[in-house]
Every structure is written in structure tokens, then in C-alpha cells.
Amino acid sequence: MPREAKRGEVIEIRIAIQHPMETGFRFDLMGRSIPKNVVNSLVVRYNGAEIFSAEMGSGIAANPYLQFYTVAEASGALVFEWVDDSGERGSERATIAVNG
């Protein structure tokens, strides 16, 4: 995403998460089923307000990639938080300077 924008400008946000998105349908070399573990939720907050969220399943490819948009309203921070089936959480923070 851009580091700065004009107020009211629509900005593009892209996120790529390193995660196997294990479907639960695969077997390891010993024939044991590999348990399902996907990033099931991603929430994006802009200065505290939720602007985008996704509930994902095994139908989303490994190392999930998302591209979406938001309106640059005020300078501040975008916080990205995600959770996977095993409960592991990840987050990322990006700041944006909004002029005008």
C-alpha cells in the first residue's frame, strides 16, 4: 500500500501471508492425515475502524494473497490481523500519511 495519499483517494492494499493453508485432505509419507490448518480470518482496521475482513477456507491457495481497496481518510495506521485454525495469530502494521 502507498505510504502517503490525498484525502479521499482510493488506495490499493495488497497482502501476502506465508502460510501452507493445509486443506486437511493431504497425507504425510507415513499415511497419516495432515490436519486442516488454514488462515480462516483476516481483519483490517484503519485507525481502529474495520474497513475489510475475510473469512477464508481451504479453497484459498497456499501463501494467501489478497488485493483490495480502501479510501484514504486520515493519517494513521492500518492494522492487519489474522488467525489460523490452530489459533496462531499474526499481525502487521503500516502507517499512511494523508494530505489535504
Binding site: S58, I60, L66, Q67, F68
Partner: protein, 151 residues
């Protein structure tokens, strides 16, 4: 003996057969997903249109198929896209993802990469702020890799 007349008619028959072949209309409702779609729309009718789904006709690899969704919507507080649901016709889990947008989204567009278990149709259902549901679908061919890989 094949006379020019016979050759002409056999060619004509082939041509007619091609024209009359009932092709799978990608925009026709995907029957197998109807109950699921009903749950999403809570009985409201699912209309075709206003949604564009870009996805390759032939996937390089079913593990990762890039797609792009765009909806015709002004994205104002009064008129915007609330949710986008991606559905698969033949995956073991038909709901691939649900995306929640809203007026702050700015542009009703989204891109991601999906897994497709086999050749099938993909359906995207858009819920608008006025409670209407619009959709688009596309057919994707998914083939196996030429050389199997168990590395």
C-alpha cells in the same frame, strides 16, 4: 465412394452438430450450489450481472488460480457492496471465502488466488446494501501436471 456431395453433407452435419450441442452455459444457475446460495441470500433471488469475475479459462495449476472480482457499485454509504462470497462447484468445501466490504472500501474490487480441485465453475455472489444479490460465474479447466511430482 466419397462424392463431393457426400463430403458436403457430412461437413454440414458436423457443423450442425456443433451448433446444436447444448453447451454448459456458465451463466446458468449452478444447480448443485442452489441450496448453499439460498442460505446466503436467505431466499432472495440471485440475479446475474453487475459482477465481473476474471479467472483464467485454463488454470496453470489447480493449486493456485488467480482471480479478480469487480462489482458495478458506487460504494457510497447508501449504495455499496456488503459481502462477496466465492463458491466452488466441485471443491470438497464449496465456500472458498467470504469478503466483507462496505462504504469505506472505496472500490468494489478484489483479487486473490484460489485452489480448484478439478475443472469446474466458480460462482461469486455479491450482496449489496439494498439487500439484492448479484452474481457472476466462470468455467475453469484444471488439468494434472504432465509429469507427476512426488518430490
Amino acid at each position: 465412394m466419397e462424392t463431393p456431395r457426400r463430403r458436403f453433407f457430412s461437413m454440414l452435419a458436423g457443423f450442425t452438430a456443433f451448433v446444436l450441442l447444448p453447451g454448459r452455459n456458465a451463466h446458468a444457475a449452478i444447480e448443485s450450489l442452489a441450496p448453499l446460495v439460498n442460505k446466503i441470500t436467505k431466499g432472495a433471488p440471485l440475479r446475474e450481472g453487475r459482477v465481473k469475475l476474471e479467472i483464467p479459462r485454463l488454470a496453470d495449476n489447480g493449486h493456485s488460480v488467480p482471480l479478480r472480482i469487480a462489482v458495478d457499485s458506487p460504494m457510497t454509504p447508501a449504495d455499496h457492496v456488503r459481502t462477496l462470497t466465492l463458491l466452488s462447484e466441485k471443491n470438497p468445501r464449496p465456500v472458498m471465502a467470504t469478503f466483507h466490504l462496505g462504504p469505506k472500501a472505496g472500490r468494489p474490487e478484489l483479487a486473490t488466488r484460489v485452489r480448484l480441485a478439478t475443472s469446474q465453475r466458480v460462482l461469486v455472489v455479491a450482496e449489496l446494501s439494498d439487500g439484492s444479490f448479484w452474481s457472476a460465474s466462470a468455467e475453469v479447466e484444471v488439468t494434472e501436471s504432465a509429469c507427476l511430482d512426488a518430490s
